[in-house]
């Protein structure tokens, strides 16, 4: 293994397989206190690994090697705890530490999903109450906590919508999706067996009732929209749109990814929404884990309730119990084994209880306030995609960059040099070179100002010193990464 120090404390680190050396021992498993069972005495030799099988170079490292390895890796990462993370549509708010402590209580972590119901009443009560809180916040009639993520929730909702029409004896085959939608919306629709009918949003960034009316027919199962939409604007015509869709017997699916703007301010049920997924890892402060796990509960109106996945939680007197398929003949079945991402639910439950109604409302209004501050402060330096007050996020285009030779991606990378995680870029697709900034409610004015100042400097640099942007980032562990090479010459694993 080569010397691992690059520049002072800016250390290099090999792959764990390259740190490995034969015969090293890490954390040893316990000594067995029962007689050693000879595998060959009961299992055919052909079913067993060869004695000397090294599992293709499986690592052998000391405990300290492992500790240093992952500690170093963590130092190459940027998280919300490291700094400002205004990744639009992802709601990178602070993940409260008390939630982490709660989720690590052994009374939660040590529960087996099949243990007797009498021995896990606290867990069932927590899930039951969380369902009730989410119903109250969204206005929906019933909630399932089973889906593992937002996209999983979308799929669950679309399965229920398909089942609803099938149950009525008149299956429908199309889903209308606006051009501002997250990529998961059309992908989930296709996976659920629907044909996607794309429609354009209007010049004001909003969906026009006429556009919906033009394509809505009796073969359309649902309109899938995000509210506030991905431009950060509230779909003001949603009630009218819902009326048009409902008049033809269709349903409204809302992608609830942006619910952080609405908590305590407006309910989806009042807008005519029939089905929505909530992202506990966005709105309800659970951490993103470097890519998950999240949790994507789905709320529905009464007529979709029979189709919810099993099991359901019921309260009978003071006891909580699980109700299965036998008593739920119309259920779509299961989205996964067991009951959902329970430890994520624990965090979301702690968050809701800590904030209460006032706190949730304050979170939403502050998120809106911060986004509008961003919008107002940067609109002289960057072109706003739509010049109207926004909800939780502000979207800019690359229009003012034209002719500079600098692209949105260069701005994103330059922000890293200033110590910020870049916003979401090139999404939504309807905005050219989009820069989507979602500050969230948890950031301080000083942080917002520092970011604004960085963006302004970058706007100047784009004109005066564009190479600074094109060569960015320059203060990171690696310089700009060649993503094209990764796809063209795939190396997807280490090999001995």
């Amino acid at each position: 293994m080569k010397q691992t120090t690059d520049k002072g404390f800016f250390m290099d680190e090999p792959l764990i397989f390259e740190r490995s050396s034969s015969g090293k021992r890490g954390v040893e498993p316990c000594q067995s206190d029962v007689p050693d069972h000879d595998a060959l005495s009961t299992i055919p030799k052909a079913f067993l690994r060869d004695a000397g099988d090294g599992l293709n170079g499986f690592p052998e490292a000391s405990e300290l090697d492992v500790v240093r390895h992952y500690t170093r890796l963590s130092q190459w990462n940027f998280g919300v705890d490291t700094g400002f993370y205004p990744l639009g549509s992802c709601t990178m708010k602070y993940n409260p530490k008390v939630n982490e402590d709660a989720a690590r209580l052994s009374g939660f972590t040590g529960l087996h999903p099949y243990q007797n119901e009498a021995t896990c009443q606290g867990a069932l009560e927590l899930m039951h109450d969380l369902e009730a809180y989410l119903c109250e916040i969204s206005g929906m009639d019933a909630i399932t906590l089973q889906p593992s993520a937002g996209a999983h929730g979308e799929l669950c909702g679309l399965f229920m919508i398909a089942a609803y029409f099938k149950d009525k004896g008149a299956p429908r085959h199309k889903i209308i999706i606006p051009d501002t939608a997250h990529g998961t919306n059309p992908a989930s629709s296709a996976l659920a067996g629907f044909k996607v009918v794309p429609i354009k949003s209007g010049a004001n960034g909003l969906l026009a009732p006429e556009a919906v009316k033009a394509v809505m027919d009796t073969d359309t199962a649902a309109l899938m929209l995000t509210n506030p939409n991905t431009i950060g604007l509230f779909e003001r015509n949603i009630k009218e749109i819902a009326r048009i869709v409902h008049a033809k017997g269709g349903l409204i699916y809302c992608d609830g990814a942006n619910m952080n703007a609405l908590m305590g301010l407006a309910r989806l049920s009042d807008m005519g929404v029939d089905c929505v997924q909530l992202n506990l890892h966005k709105t309800f402060s659970t951490p993103h884990g470097g890519g998950g796990p999240g949790s994507g509960p789905v709320g529905v109106v009464k007529k979709l309730e029979p189709f919810l996945p099993v099991p359901r939680i019921r309260k009978k007197g003071k006891r909580f119990t699980l109700v299965n398929e036998g008593d739920r003949p119309k259920t779509i079945g299961r989205m996964k084994a067991f009951y959902g991402n329970f430890s994520i639910m624990v965090r979301a439950y702690a968050y809701i209880r800590r904030l209460g109604a006032e706190g949730l409302r304050r979170a939403a209004t502050t998120a809106i306030l911060n986004a509008n501050y961003m919008r107002e402060s940067l609109k002289g330096d960057f072109e706003l995609a739509y010049d109207t007050p926004c909800m939780h996020e502000a979207v800019f285009s690359d229009k003012l960059l034209s002719g500079s030779g600098v692209a949105t991606m260069d701005i994103a990378k330059r922000l890293i040099d200033y110590g910020f995680h870049p916003p979401t870029v090139y999404f939504p697709l309807v905005v050219h070179g989009a820069i989507m900034i979602e500050p969230t409610e948890t950031e301080s004015l000083e942080t917002l100002d520092a970011f604004i100042s960085a963006m302004r400097s970058i706007a100047v640099e784009a004109k005066t010193a564009p190479e600074l942007l094109k060569n960015a980032p320059s203060n990171t562990r690696v310089s700009r990464v060649d993503e094209t090479k990764a796809a063209r010459e795939p190396v997807l694993r280490w090999r001995a």
């Binding site: 500790v67 709660a102 009374g107 998961t184 996607v196 407006a266 009951y339 004015l445 700009r480 060649d482």
Partner: protein, 450 residues
């Protein structure tokens, strides 16, 4: 107010900058008839201390497994294993857990390299060529594998072993709702407890997309994977092997060496607590030739502008944010932190540790089975060899026995008639390194007394 970082002075400054008098003005973009007039009907907010006290009181209403609580012999897709201290301390570093999906590789090399290593570990254990960076759980991963097999083969028919975890079977059926007539069941042999090759052959028809077999199967029995591989390959379908207890991979011939085309399963056993069923860790590995059909995130190795080794998300043209309705899957958020935990667990115990862990599990289960059979209260339900889980048939009412043992703080296993009505008084029982000899002896003793 918790978690908001603005003072009243800051709010005033922001309002002034925006050019409005009050936050209410901003909320004017919400149509009046859609505004909530009063406040939400939720319990009042709590201080942090009160929140933690509340959470403790909720947790105290449960009886967890281990830690002087319940002595558990439950498995069935959720296994109670010892998690090394390194896992909590390293995966608990918030640079890892407060990051998003690594879209910006220059400031995400930690997550990316760890996931690249995790993909490698999965390949090493399964002897497959490539693995993705995780899916949700074993059941949904198996459903994704079935969809993938259909894309690869261009065929519809899906044969599921009857000894595949019933909740996995149910998940696949939900995912394939629009084509449920294409799902057939390959019956298991009621004597051996394993999938009958002849039954698999019949279930597959002439043109199967895939045969799905769990190994060790739901009853704990080891399948003859080579024979099943031959049967499905004769018809040019794919063999999907499902592994719900990956500790077995330290001992058993890896799926890649016995004819498997796609391996899926759940890596919860490594680094992830029981957590009442989630989050767990769906994994998927396959052959190089099928890599473009893999669902989920994949991390690749590349270089930066200065030629240094670097890692990034790759093959994203398969994914929803690029390909939208033509994507291989809709998955976006996966279970990255669970994968990190598994990787830390596996690298902490290393090659020797994994093999030793497998042997201890095998020994514990065989000792437990022997002790239980000695009681004469139960008989082996099936004759096939086992790893760390097995099925017995009781000579008395299984539910009553479970209740009596629960009074002695023992979770004796899972009654199988909840999934298989014909398997009355059958108990599925697992043992891991966390079941001590004393616990096992006590279980046997209480069973004879029951």
């Amino acid at each position: 107010m918790p978690y908001v970082s603005l003072s009243d002075k800051d709010v005033a400054h922001i309002l002034k900058t925006i050019g409005i008098d009050s936050t209410e003005t901003l909320l004017g973009t919400l149509p009046d008839d859609l505004r909530i007039k009063d406040k939400l009907n939720l319990p009042d907010g709590l201080s942090e201390q009160e929140t933690m006290a509340l959470m403790r009181s909720m947790a105290a209403k449960n009886s967890p497994v281990g830690q002087g609580g319940l002595s558990s012999f439950l498995g069935a897709g959720a296994y109670n294993h010892y998690v090394p201290s390194t896992v909590e301390h390293l995966a608990g570093r918030s640079e890892f857990y407060t990051a998003y999906t690594p879209y910006q590789p220059e400031i995400s090399q930690g997550t990316l390299m760890a996931m690249f290593e995790y993909q490698t570990l999965v390949c090493q254990m399964t002897s497959m060529d490539v693995a993705n960076a995780s899916l949700y759980d074993g059941a949904s991963a198996t459903a994704e594998a079935v969809l993938m097999a259909r894309r690869v083969t261009g065929r519809g028919r899906v044969a599921l072993s009857g000894a595949l975890h019933p909740e996995y079977q149910r998940t696949i059926k939900t995912y394939l709702k629009s084509a449920s007539e294409d799902i057939t069941e390959a019956l298991f042999c009621t004597e051996a407890g394993t999938t009958l090759v002849e039954a698999a052959d019949a279930a597959m028809g002439d043109e199967p997309a895939c045969l799905v077999v769990q190994h060790p199967n739901f009853f704990g029995c080891l399948e003859d994977v080579s024979a099943l591989a031959e049967a499905v390959h004769r018809k040019k379908g794919l063999l999907i092997i499902v592994v719900t207890e990956p500790v077995s991979l330290g001992l058993l011939k890896p799926p890649g060496e016995v004819g498997c085309d796609i391996v899926v399963g759940d890596n919860q056993s490594f680094g992830n607590a029981l957590n009442f069923g989630g989050p767990y860790l769906g994994f998927m590995a396959t052959k190089t030739e099928f890599v473009r059909q893999l669902p989920g995130r994949i991390i690749g190795q590349t270089v930066d502008r200065d030629g240094r080794r670097a890692f990034c998300l790759t093959f994203s043209t398969r994914e929803q944010h690029i390909r939208r309705e033509r994507a291989t899957s809709n998955i976006c958020t996966n279970h990255g932190l669970c994968a990190l935990q598994a990787a830390i667990h596996l690298t902490s115990i290393g090659l020797g540790g994994l093999k030793a862990l497998s042997r201890v599990n095998l020994s514990k289960a065989h000792y437990l089975r022997q002790r239980l059979l000695e009681t004469k209260v139960c008989r082996p339900a099936f004759s096939a060899p086992i790893f760390n889980e097995f099925t017995v048939r009781l000579d008395k009412d299984a539910d009553a026995v479970l209740q009596r043992l629960l009074k002695k703080d023992i979770l004796a296993g899972l009654t199988l008639d909840r999934f298989y009505p014909a398997l009355t008084n059958h108990l599925l029982i697992a043992a891991t390194e966390l079941n001590s000899k004393d616990d096992i002896d006590r279980f046997a003793e209480e069973l004879s007394n029951s």
